[in-house]
Amino acid sequence: MDALNALVAFANFVFIPGLAYGAQLAMGALGVTLIYGILRFSNFAHGDTMAFGTMVTILLTWGLQSLGISFGPLPTALLALPFAIGITGLFLLGTDRVIYKFYRAQKVKPVILVIVAMGVMFVYNGIVRFIIGPDDIGFRDGVSRLISPREFKEWSGLAEGLGLRTTTVITLVTAFIAMALLFWFLNKTRTGKSMRAFSDNEDLALLSGINPERVVMVTWMIVAALATTAGVLYGLDKSFKAFTYFQLLLPIFAAAIVGGLGSPQGAIAGGFVIAFSEVTVTYAWKKVYNYLVPEAWETTSLLQLLSTDYKFAVSFGILIIVLLFKPTGIFKGQSV
């Protein structure tokens, strides 16, 4: 019974939150890694792209709600998501046409594009705050919990409760579908293959007749889809605030680099590595430990490696270790 309690506490406070957070990070890291692989620069505006996409989703959700349209037990935001992806895609293409295209034509060094991306980041940041404001916005509706911890305790008779939120399940399912679609697209379709060819060797790809502008356009559309979905999932699961999306940039980049920049598999692995490290290192293991050991060994100390204030430090610690010992990341992406 005690071992079961330990397992439930672990699942409730470490495994399930880590899984959801990991999926959200992985979706974000996929967008970063695609841009790095194909357009060859670090897109610092990615966190704010997520914020922009989520903002459009929220506005559309409000519109749908005022029309009385809902998605039954699921959040209305999922209905608004496809339209928001379209709008965000157009917005990104517009940015590309106005800004990045100019620099691409000049064949500038990647480091200049990084600075340009930072400028774009600040502008996006301002646009989002200007339109929807800097405050916390919750836009979740529908059924909030699949399993309530209180009911679980009564049902199982355990001392520990297990909570499962609808948004956690939606996050995992949506992330899985999005990743499967992405891999199918990259590996099986003609456009996907031409994108990979462009990423592997730009000159050879151009010689074999691939239209670079088309590759760029498709990339931005995919990035818009990934970023908006990642942003909406994070916002549904937690809450939307322009500033927290900007901060998400740090763990997302850590995930992409740890997995290997330019490698989609790496981005997914990196997302989960970062998420689970953050959660396990800052978790206080007292409860789980006390359930597992005989009574005589029980402890009153929290058994917490790092205070939760240092959550972000964990991703940076891992980042430094990876860059020192395996600069190309777990999945051998392009060297940073």
């Binding site: 506490a9 409730n12 406070f13 470490v14 939150p17 957070y21 916390d136 919750g138 919990r145 309530s148 911890p149 209180r150 679980f152 305790k153 520990e160 409760g161 297990l162 909570g163 939120r165 994070y234 916002g235 699961d237 937690k238 809450s239 939307f240 605030k241 500033f243 927290t244 953050e278 959660v279 800052t282 978790y283 206080a284 293991w285 007292k286 409860k287 789980v288 929290l302 058994l303 917490q304 205070s307 939760t308 204030d309 959550k311």
Partner: protein, 398 residues
């Protein structure tokens, strides 16, 4: 010789200036509150409360042989100590105020006290700064507050918990002066009363996800979770995450966490949680609400009655001293606020002035049952509340 002449002339000029200042008969009171910044939603009602007391005294027209009182507003910003200091400096040097009603937040209040009030010798009465640190700050006898120190709230919260038979709690606070001060005061009082605080952990406001913080709190355990935070910030996030993961079912809510918005946002899961915030069942509170309604502002706003009391105390102390100079009336503030004497309620400021003129003593009760203790701060009356069926119900007064 020439220098001496000039010096003499200058001195004479300044002396007459000072004399003129002391005898113009007008009284100026600076109202420095965070009209912009995090408290901007409640400061309008606070300013209106203070201005209502001033209007009441002006209507009587008897203060200090017919002086008229002028309230001058300034912006403390609540968070920017430099901006607050500059605004207070302007009030004192340029507008020449005789007393300051303010400031609101503990951090800027401390800054104004040290940088402006003490160097210039001006009395300050804050209606809402609650940090325990201000109790021991050097103030040259110039600083008072009509709000209780959070040290007092820590004691009251301890009584609430012990009376309910709860002896083990987890504690989390918002990482600023207010949260830290309240958490430490509560922990000290609670442990002295025999309770156990399993964990005392900070949380940052403005984050999207508090599941990691809640996981640590849950692991430490405790019958209830004390959340010394803000309703629309991390405090709400902590409660939501605790309920989602089943870490805690019952929460203790200090003053920053008591708000109908929180009850509406969280819903039925919050039923059974309890807490306390400043409040009184004295008849002064009712009288104040009526006056506020007649004056056209919301008297139920947080710290609005305290603001009325702060401004009223300043003016009554001036009357008791027969002078609007801070050095003269600072010593009289405690006298007019406390027993013995005739009890004075809101709307009776004219009567209070008459009594003082007749040489009698008054005991200002005001809107918040003012009783100044120790270093000149309100003893504090608290309303113990419990969330029942989605409404904040009063259990009793402490």
């Amino acid at each position: 010789m020439k220098h001496l002449l000039m010096a003499t002339a200058a001195t004479a000029l300044m002396a007459t200036g000072a004399m003129a200042d002391g005898h113009t008969g007008d009284v100026k009171i600076g109202i420095i509150l965070g009209f912009t910044g995090p408290l901007e939603s409640i400061t309008p009602a606070m300013g209106a409360g203070a201005e209502m007391a001033i209007a009441e005294v002006n209507e009587a027209g008897t203060l200090l042989d017919g002086a008229s009182v002028e309230g001058i507003r300034a912006d403390s910003t609540c968070i920017d100590a430099a901006a607050a200091t500059a605004a207070a400096e302007r009030l004192v040097t340029s507008d020449g105020v005789h007393g300051i009603m303010g400031a609101d937040c503990s951090g800027v209040t401390g800054a104004i006290l040290q940088n402006v009030a003490r160097p210039n010798g001006v009395v300050m009465v804050s209606p809402s700064a609650t940090s325990p640190g201000l109790s021991t700050a050097d103030d040259d006898g110039l600083f008072f507050r009509t709000a209780p120190s959070d040290a007092r709230q820590g004691v009251v919260m301890t009584e609430v918990l012990i009376d309910r038979g709860i002896t083990e709690v987890a504690l989390t606070y918002t990482n600023n002066d207010y949260g830290k001060g309240l958490a430490d005061a509560f922990q000290a009082a609670y442990e002295e009363a025999g309770g156990t605080v399993t964990i005392n952990a900070a949380h940052e406001d403005g984050k999207a996800d508090y599941s990691a913080e809640v996981a640590a709190l849950a692991s430490a355990g405790g019958e209830v979770l004390v959340v010394a935070g803000y309703t629309d910030q991390g405090g709400k996030g902590i409660i939501q995450a605790s309920l989602d993961s089943g870490a805690f079912d019952t929460f203790v809510l200090p003053d920053g966490m008591v708000g109908q918005q929180l009850v509406d946002d969280i819903g039925a899961d919050l039923n059974g949680s309890f807490g306390q915030f400043p409040g009184t069942d004295s008849e002064g509170a009712e009288l104040f609400l009526g006056l506020a309604e007649a004056a056209g502002f919301d008297g139920t706003g947080a710290f609005s009655p305290e603001s009325y009391d702060a401004a009223a105390l300043l003016m009554l102390a001036m009357e008791a001293a027969g002078s609007n100079a801070s050095a003269d009336y600072a010593g009289h503030l405690m006298d007019v606020a406390n027993a013995p004497g005739t009890e004075i309620f809101p709307g009776e400021l004219a009567k209070a002035i008459e009594l003082l003129k007749a040489g009698e003593e008054i005991n200002y009760v005001g809107a918040t049952a003012v009783e100044l203790i120790g270093p000149g701060e309100s003893a504090g009356n608290y309303r113990e509340i419990e969330i029942q069926d989605g409404a904040i119900e009063t259990v009793r007064f402490r």
